[in-house]
């Protein structure tokens, strides 16, 4: 499902004043790469927010909340903590909006804040991984009961193993596997080189294999 929303009035202070920003909320493809129009829109939204327009930042939140929540969920492992972390990310982004220079995509900048928040907060406390509640699971009604149980157990084991990875390896794995980000963007997010990101990803997979084989 995809919905388009056009703000029906130009934001005060936005240059040029006749700009109209179309906001696309695509809820089906959460890891969609931002296109050129979205990048330009993001910058316009940031500029409008800096001009004092709070609605512009609401649009930013609506546009990026899904990716940020998903990232936080991968780190936190449960809905409550993930939504708290995601809220913290947006508040920090709002406070530091003036430091966004526009050299990287806004989403990259936001991811950077999110990874920092998650690594700082989640690393400091034990994760509470959600048990296999029916509401949390994909629709498996068509699956056989034993397949469903096996799949659930495997997912739980994978999440638990990821939670035990060192911070940088965990960040590289989550951003690469679950967010489909290219290595260079991950490097920009975590502040390392592409080579370091690849090495972290390699070690993450190797350690994950070890941890899963130990568990099984």
């Amino acid at each position: 499902m995809s919905t388009d929303r056009t703000l029906d009035r130009p934001w005060p202070g936005l240059r040029p004043r006749h700009w109209r920003v179309t906001v696309t909320r695509d809820r089906t493809n959460s890891a969609a790469r931002p296109d050129a129009r979205q990048l330009a829109d993001d910058r316009a939204l940031v500029e409008a927010s800096l001009e004092g327009n709070r609605e512009a930042f609401d649009v930013i939140v609506e546009r990026h909340q899904r990716q940020i929540y998903q990232l936080c969920y991968r780190f936190a492992g449960n809905h409550e903590d993930a939504s708290d972390l995601a809220q913290d990310v947006f508040i920090r982004a709002y406070r530091g909006l003036h430091s966004f220079k526009g050299q990287a995509a806004f989403s990259t900048w936001l991811y950077r804040i999110a990874v920092n928040v998650c690594l700082n907060r989640v690393g400091a406390r034990a994760q509470k991984w959600t048990t296999l509640a029916a509401a949390d699971q994909p629709d498996l009604r068509e699956e056989r009961a034993d397949t469903k149980i096996l799949r659930g157990e495997r997912a739980a084991a994978v999440r638990a193993a990821i939670a035990r990875l060192p911070k940088k390896q965990r960040a590289a794995l989550i951003l690469r596997v679950y967010h489909d980000l290219p290595h260079d963007e991950i490097a920009a997010i975590v502040g390392t080189s592409v080579g370091a990101v690849k090495a972290n990803f390699f070690h993450a997979l190797a350690n994950l294999k070890k941890l899963l084989s130990t568990t099984s």
Partner: protein, 199 residues
């Protein structure tokens, strides 16, 4: 040939086309690298298979509203380099602090500074080159010869007993009155006297 590096393993499991022809050939010939790449690929697929549970569709509207409500308490972010109006009170406090600092510095440098050296009461600095003739003439000075003759046999104890004595500090004051040439001469006389008395 060397086995694949970590980065090359990552390239291989994500896209076999990312490797050079030589490295691809190595993978074809090296069972160890192939096996390792296969294991990494399997783990990656297993991780990918873990789908994140989707929150309720109502959650997103609730979340954005929650963030917006939280941000209402936040001051609006300010664009970099922009002049922000500062309240008058802030300027007043800043001005008062500056005035206080300046006053303190002035007060410390004037009132609490160490008093300047009391100028020696040497009336006029005498140029040694000019005063040398005076020193040379001192032995031939008739007035000074009279004083020396009169005091040649004077014993200090007798003078003291007779009530002829200096006030405390008088010697220091007298020394302060001397000019440079006179001080040099005094030093010479004292030296001679000490040598003579075997001190």
């Amino acid at each position: 040939m060397k086995h694949l590096s970590r980065a090359e393993f990552v390239d291989l499991i994500e896209s076999s086309a990312a490797l050079s022809a030589a490295r691809t050939l190595h993978v074809e010939q090296c069972a160890q690298c192939r096996e390792r790449a296969e294991a990494l690929r399997a783990v990656r697929s297993m991780a990918r298979a873990d789908e994140m549970p989707e929150p309720s569709p109502l959650f997103w509207d609730h979340f954005s509203a929650r963030v917006a409500a939280e941000l209402r308490n936040e001051p609006a972010p300010v664009a970099p380099g922009r002049w922000t109006p500062v309240p008058f009170a802030t300027w007043a406090v800043a001005g008062a602090v500056i005035v206080l600092l300046v006053s303190t510095v002035v007060w410390r440098t004037t009132l609490h500074a160490p008093s300047p050296e009391a100028p020696a009461r040497v009336s006029v600095p005498v140029d040694l080159a000019v005063s040398d003739p005076i020193v040379d003439d001192l032995d031939n000075d008739e007035a000074w010869a009279v004083v020396r003759a009169a005091t040649a046999d004077l014993v200090w104890e007798d003078a003291h007993d007779a009530g002829i004595s200096a006030h405390p500090g008088a010697v220091e004051n007298a020394a302060l009155e001397l000019n440079a040439a006179e001080r040099i001469e005094l030093e010479r006389l004292l030296d001679e006297d000490m040598k003579r008395n075997g001190a």
